[in-house]
């Protein structure tokens, strides 16, 4: 028995060694993933996993380098018309498509971008990202709605093989940044028509022009990416093979797989991070994980639609009182709340503003440091028991006789989600701070898989944690969930707040200010400053309670931090892609991380300064 076992073991070792024999000397990087892509048609959606795949395997007109700076990709340079609505791109003529074997298959041409738009806007096979196109391009909505079947009416044209022109609905402050998004990536024209039925269903059914090509893809098993030698920056690619290995239980056994060398990057749960901190042999093997694009806040519902037993009318009166809102704004301890998710570095993840930092910058200043918004941004924590009790006293005076205390607050939670533990902390913390004779949070369970449409959108709640990640790096996108003109009409209707409500417009001061800011397209400083004013108003009136930003925590990784490319969110988004990443021979420790981060911030400042000159050649005068 022992003998056979030994024999088989050695056989296994031989076999596994055979797996390592590669022609290429570049190292291999392995990462686990726990939920499979629905499709690898890289323009299908902007879900994180697909965006990552797209950024690894494709190159758009432009891309963002590791400092979040916009660089020309397939486009060599471009010109923008005087009215800011016509963008003309002059493409490089030497970017080849590569198939799943790494063989060249024609060049990327302007027609490929048109094909991509046609693919996305196809009214018979609609894509969830079609709105990104039809909200920006002339004629796209009509084509999508089948008003016309003439695609030449859409504002995207190949003037010749290597000249591409977009015509926008109006001047846009963020169109160039938006182009970094996978929605705007090219789709190979001839290949697409040959593979119409199966396009994007397997790695054989795609072509690649990015850093890697997908060499094999077995659903719920693994994806193997190999370096594309014809990639624009191929000389800077230092990882030869990237293996994405599927494991549904990656959160449970990922850490162990990392220690045994089966994977090169995992995020650590609170409890495992604790183990590693306390164990000398592992305490130098983890570092801080990057944050992502999401920001979360505790929302108030200004249009309560729930059963009489939870007293919706009393809630409507209470929530429209600024002192009542402020008592919660300052009475809510976001550190306690965030620690449920992120036990170790919750403080770094705590938000004191509605937008997350690093969304946009004006010169050296973050958007959050404009228009007096720094009053919030500079604080570590908004929680202030004294202030909260002051506002509580004021609210008690204001609301006396109008509502009966305690005010009932219906917090509806999804029984299959993870919010319930946080809500328990929210409930007991608020009641402890403000007194259970003042507010009474009631956790109401909801079961079923359509929480968003059945609860959030119908207003069957009084307070709720909501989260949003902007679609493009501009405050306008961050404002979507509170604006009437956008999805804000489903997310608690902030614009209904009575004190500021403008009957004639149907919305309030915050929205007025935001729309005013959005109308400014030429002057970025003014645009962002005005947006900052709107956001300050939002916080001054305590219409939302800032909470935390997504991501963070700890990870174990061999990727050298801050080396990989960023997405269209620039430096603020998560760095999931591995294009241009450098691989270390050992796990990055927290000390290394801190040092690298410091260095990175210095380099970034320098890079930003140099960029002014470098980018001068990107945009050329109209021909």
């Amino acid at each position: 028995m022992k003998k056979t076992a030994a024999l088989l073991l050695s056989l296994a070792m031989l076999l596994s060694m055979a797996g390592f024999v590669h022609g290429d000397s570049l190292p291999t990087f392995t990462e686990l993933y726990s939920s499979e892509l629905q499709t690898i048609d890289y323009v299908d959606s902007t879900l994180t996993a697909l965006t990552t795949f797209a950024m690894n395997t494709q190159l758009g007109l432009v891309y963002f380098d590791n400092f979040g700076l916009l660089r020309p990709g397939v486009a060599e340079n471009w010109s923008i018309s005087a009215d800011g609505t016509v963008y003309t791109f002059y493409l490089r003529q030497d970017i080849p498509w590569v198939d799943y074997r790494g063989n060249k298959a024609g060049n990327v041409t302007a027609h490929d971008f048109v094909t991509a738009a046609k693919h996305i806007l196809n009214p018979d096979d609609p894509k969830s990202v079609a709105n990104t196109l039809y909200n920006n391009l002339v004629g796209a909505k009509d084509y999508y709605d089948k008003v016309t079947d003439d695609f030449s009416t859409v504002g995207i044209k190949a003037l010749d093989d290597y000249t591409l022109q977009y015509t926008l609905l109006g001047p846009s402050a963020y169109f160039m940044r938006m182009l970094g998004n996978n929605v705007w990536y090219p789709v190979p024209t001839d290949f697409y028509s040959e593979h119409a039925e199966t396009y994007g269903t397997s790695c054989e059914d795609l072509l690649y022009n990015g850093a890697y090509y997908c060499a094999s893809y077995e659903y719920e098993y693994e994806r193997v990416l190999e370096k594309n030698p014809y990639y624009l920056n191929a000389d800077k690619i230092s990882i030869g093979t990237v293996i994405y290995r599927y494991n549904k239980e990656a959160t449970a056994n990922g850490a162990e797989l990392f220690l045994r060398g089966d994977t090169d990057k995992v995020s650590l749960t609170n409890d495992i991070a604790k183990e590693w901190m306390e164990d000398a042999s592992r305490s130098d093997k983890y570092c801080t994980a990057p944050q992502n694009n999401m920001s979360y806040w505790i929302a108030f519902n200004f249009d309560p639609q729930f059963e009489a037993e939870f007293e919706p009318d009393a809630w409507r009166v209470a929530v429209n009182n600024v002192n009542f809102r402020k008592s919660i704004f300052y009475g809510f301890n976001s550190h306690t709340y965030n620690a449920v998710l992120n036990q170790w570095n919750y403080a770094e993840n705590t938000l004191t503003t509605f937008s997350r930092p690093d969304l946009v910058t004006v010169g050296a200043l973050d958007y959050l440091q404009l228009s007096g918004l720094e009053e919030y941004y500079d604080q570590d924590l908004l929680f202030n028991e004294e202030k909260a009790l002051e506002y509580k006293a004021a609210a008690l005076k204001d609301l006396e006789g109008k509502v009966t205390f305690p005010v009932k607050v219906k917090v509806t939670y999804n029984t299959s989600g993870s919010t319930s533990t946080r809500y328990q902390v929210l409930e007991q913390q608020l009641e402890k701070t403000l007194g259970s004779d003042y507010i009474d949070l009631i956790l109401a369970p909801y079961s079923g898989s359509s929480f968003n449409s059945d609860v959030r959108n119908t207003g069957d709640w009084a307070m709720l944690e909501l989260g949003w990640g902007p679609d493009y790096a501009d405050p306008m996108s961050q404002f979507d969930p509170i604006l009437k003109e956008s999805i804000g009409k489903n997310w608690g209707k902030v614009y209904l707040a009575q004190e500021y409500y403008d009957e004639a417009l149907g919305y309030g001061d915050v929205e007025k200010k935001a729309l005013e800011a959005n109308a400014i397209t030429g002057d970025f400083d003014l645009r962002y400053t005005t947006f900052a004013e709107a956001e300050k108003l939002l916080l001054d009136e305590a219409l939302v309670v800032p909470c935390y930003r997504g991501g963070g925590g700890f990870q174990a990784t061999r990727i050298v931090p801050f080396t990989q490319v960023t997405g269209q969110m620039g430096d603020g988004g998560a760095r999931n892609a591995i294009t241009l990443a450098a691989l270390s021979d050992h796990p990055i420790s927290e000390e290394e991380y801190k040092a690298l981060r410091e260095q990175y911030l210095i380099d970034r400042t320098a890079a930003r300064a140099a960029y002014v000159e470098e980018s001068a050649g990107y945009q050329i005068p109209e021909k």
Binding site: S128, E220, E256, S449
Partner: protein, 314 residues
């Protein structure tokens, strides 16, 4: 007998038809948000309408039903709509099923080969050490949630024996542990029921008679008792074997085996109607066919059992 089998098979077609129809209607009762998952938040209402139309869900229900029956007749499962959009369901299943069947069959074989002898030994040594040890094992398997001991086996056994944690197609050693883990539950229940039925038989008169006649103990155990004891278990065996195709959720997730285990679950939660319908039809036809085989097997094992009412009753 053949007439009986044909009748049962025809009847099964009717059952399958009813199941397919019921599942079809149940899936149409699901809320529309489910078709979009995470994408739902970023889509305009018009887009949602457009996509539902493109999926064919905006056609009147009778039209959808008619189309569904049409595709059933053509034995065409169609294409997945949300799990792997545009990929033929036949392709999805043909990629995944072989893994589940291989792992499933091996684990059933291990369970049977270990469980039945174990149960027999336990019964023969009733209340002695082998029985007690076996009982401890059975109790352990029943008492500790599978999700917990699977994970511990995966971590500690691979560590001690230096086996790979994840299943790897290029490394045959990596498939042993998942197979063995998968068989643990089955082994326990086969052992438990074998023991119980054999104990049941031990006190029977025919056993006493056989012993009095001088039949060897081995002959009694294997020729008489075990044969009778296995009859009730034989009924389930064919269905168990056929349904190995459905895979094991936990084991496949833990070891990254690309089998069928999670397919039905994710198809339901993502509301991939064609995929759900196809899987339900496949699983139920195998289940029903397995039941028929089980009944036949039972008759083979025990001639006293009659499935058909014979014309001349003695």
């Amino acid at each position: 007998m053949i007439k009986y089998i044909l009748k049962r098979l025809l009847q099964s077609l009717l059952t399958l038809f009813i199941i397919a129809t019921v599942v079809f209607f149940l899936m149409r009762l699901m809320p529309e948000e489910g078709y979009f998952g995470e994408k739902y938040d970023k889509m305009d209402p018009e887009q949602i309408e457009a996509e539902l139309t493109a999926m064919g869900l905006r056609d009147p229900i009778p039209v959808q039903l008619w189309r569904f029956y049409g595709s059933l007749l053509r034995l065409d499962f169609g294409k997945s709509i949300t799990v792997r959009p545009k990929v033929a369901i036949a392709k999805i299943i043909s990629q995944k099923a072989p893994y589940s069947i291989r792992f499933g069959l091996c684990s059933v074989a291990i369970s049977l080969l270990v469980g039945i002898p174990m149960g027999t030994v336990m019964a023969l040594f009733k209340k002695k050490i082998p029985d007690k040890l076996g009982n401890m094992y059975i109790i352990f398997i029943h008492a500790v949630p599978a999700a917990v001991y699977y994970l511990f086996i995966q971590l500690y056994v691979t560590d001690i024996l230096h086996l790979p944690i994840l299943y790897n197609e290029r490394d045959p050693v990596s498939q042993w542990l998942p197979m063995i883990s998968m068989s643990l539950g089955g082994t326990a229940s086969y052992a438990m029921w074998t023991r119980r039925y054999v104990v049941d038989q031990m006190n029977r008169d025919y056993v006493k008679f056989a012993r009095a006649k001088g039949v060897s103990e081995g002959g009694i155990t294997f020729g008489h008792m075990l044969r009778n004891a296995l009859v009730p278990m034989a009924q389930n065996l064919p269905a168990t074997i056929l349904l190995t195709i459905s895979g094991s959720i936990y084991i496949e997730s833990l070891y990254s085996i690309p089998g069928m285990g999670n397919l039905l679950l994710s198809a339901i939660s993502r509301q991939d109607n064609p995929l759900v319908q196809a899987l339900v039809l496949i699983y139920s036809s195998l289940g029903i066919f397995g039941l028929l085989l089980g009944d036949l097997l039972m008759v083979l094992c025990d001639p006293r059992i009659k499935l058909v009412r014979e014309k001349e009753d003695r």
